[in-house]
């Protein structure tokens, strides 16, 4: 139940289905969330100076291993936290989208730096005005570039979010799209 998706299926009061009376399920779910929060494997999508700052975060002075996120993977299949560090130009947007879609769910996105978050001071025709135009972002980190502490703080916020059991922004978007599709189907009928 908890392993299948990242949402916990809880039964709301008033619904006719009885909740499965098992303490084990909730405990397992909590454990899965704890494990997920403690083993985020980052995929750095580094395109600019923010990536240099990311190197500083994973190296010995700040040591991201203390948060269980030191296994930097350059293969989207093996990672679950994408860190978009740097300016994303329009030409690169399809690549970013493709890499994001190749990642396995559950997955999270950290938008590091103002260029990735909003375009920053590139108010220009060729720069994406925020990567949230194409991928759902979970945590934004402003700064140009953010300090290593700023990124660690963002990762801690993401861990808090996962441990609280909130769905990732990706899951929220999926749910919304599914609901819209259902409504369209109902409207047709």
């Amino acid at each position: 139940m908890g392993l299948k998706g990242e949402r916990v299926e809880t039964t709301r009061p008033g619904s006719d289905t009885k909740p499965p009376e098992s303490v084990f399920t909730t405990t397992l779910d909590k454990m899965v969330r704890w494990a997920r929060a403690g083993s985020l494997w980052p995929l750095p999508f580094g395109t600019a100076c923010c990536a240099i700052e990311f190197m500083s975060v994973v190296s010995s002075h700040y040591d991201l291993a203390r948060f269980g996120a030191e296994v930097v993977r350059f293969s989207p299949r093996q990672s679950d936290m994408m860190i978009v560090a740097g300016t994303v130009v329009d030409k690169q947007a399809p690549i970013l989208k493709l890499i994001y879609e190749q990642m396995c769910s559950p997955k999270w996105v950290i938008s590091m730096g103002v260029c990735a978050s909003s375009g920053g001071f590139y108010r220009a025709y060729h720069v994406m005005q925020g990567i949230d135009e194409i991928v759902p972002v979970d945590v934004y980190v402003p700064g140009c570039p953010p300090t290593p502490e700023g990124l660690i703080y963002a990762i801690m916020k993401l861990q808090e979010k996962i441990e609280r059991g909130e769905p990732s922004h990706y899951q929220v978007v999926l749910d919304r799209e599914a609901a819209e599709a259902r409504e369209r189907k109902l409207a047709r009928v």
Binding site: S60, H61, Y62, D63, R66, V114, S117, S118, G119, G120, F121, R123, G130, D132, D138, V139, Y140, V141, P142, G143, C144, P146, T147, P148, E149, G150, L151, I152, Y153, A154, M156, K157, K161
Partner: protein, 197 residues
């Protein structure tokens, strides 16, 4: 082009010369000593760090913090007059100097004729700001300053629009140190000497 068999020379066994023969001893060819040497370096460092944890370069961030210099450019705040109003006179210098165009000011007329204008709105888009400090340099009233605050990641893009009230009130002097403000007090000092304050 087909190969003519009469042109092909077949080498005898003693004519064959190996380009590079591995002449190392058999135990070196196993690569085990090299692995042991590599692990030795790792284990030596591990033991050294276990015996002397103070020698580690790691800053244990949420508990320990790096002491940044006094020119650190973190999140802005607006300074206040003794009356509690913002010092800002809405001259638009910072908004003009801003390379990211992230400052939005709406000016209003102040009831006090000595002050002329005040900002009705003063918004900074924290997701646009590149923390260059040009607004602090440009300010003729010493009204905007930067701090050493850098913990500002958030889940929503809307959280980063810092309005006037927030910029005036977010900073707790006891917790957040002043950052970049190279001309702090200079304007008041020069006015004091000219007797215009």
């Amino acid at each position: 082009m087909p190969i003519d068999p009469s042109q092909v020379k077949v080498l005898r066994a003693d004519e064959i010369i190996r380009a590079r023969e591995d002449t190392r001893a058999w135990w070196k060819r196993l690569y085990l000593p090299a692995i042991a040497m590599g692990l030795g370096v790792t284990i030596r460092n591990m033991v050294r760090n276990l015996l002397n944890p103070g020698g580690l370069p790691t800053i244990r961030y949420p508990e320990e913090r790096r002491d940044y210099g006094h020119r650190f450019r973190g999140r802005h705040y607006l300074k206040k007059r003794p009356s509690g109003e913002p010092r800002c006179v809405a001259c638009m210098m910072c908004a003009t100097a801003c390379p990211a165009d992230c400052i939005y000011i709406v000016a209003g007329e102040h009831p006090d004729p000595a002050i002329e204008k005040y900002p009705v709105r003063f918004d900074i888009d924290g997701l646009r700001c590149i923390m260059c400090g040009y607004c602090v340099d440009a300010c003729p009233e010493d009204a905007i300053a930067m701090t050493k605050e850098y913990e500002w990641a958030s889940y929503e893009r809307e959280d980063f629009i810092w309005d006037k009230e927030y910029l005036l009130s977010w900073r707790d002097e006891k917790v957040v140190d002043d950052g970049y403000q190279p001309y702090e007090g200079e304007i008041d000092k020069s006015r004091m000497s000219r007797g215009t304050l």
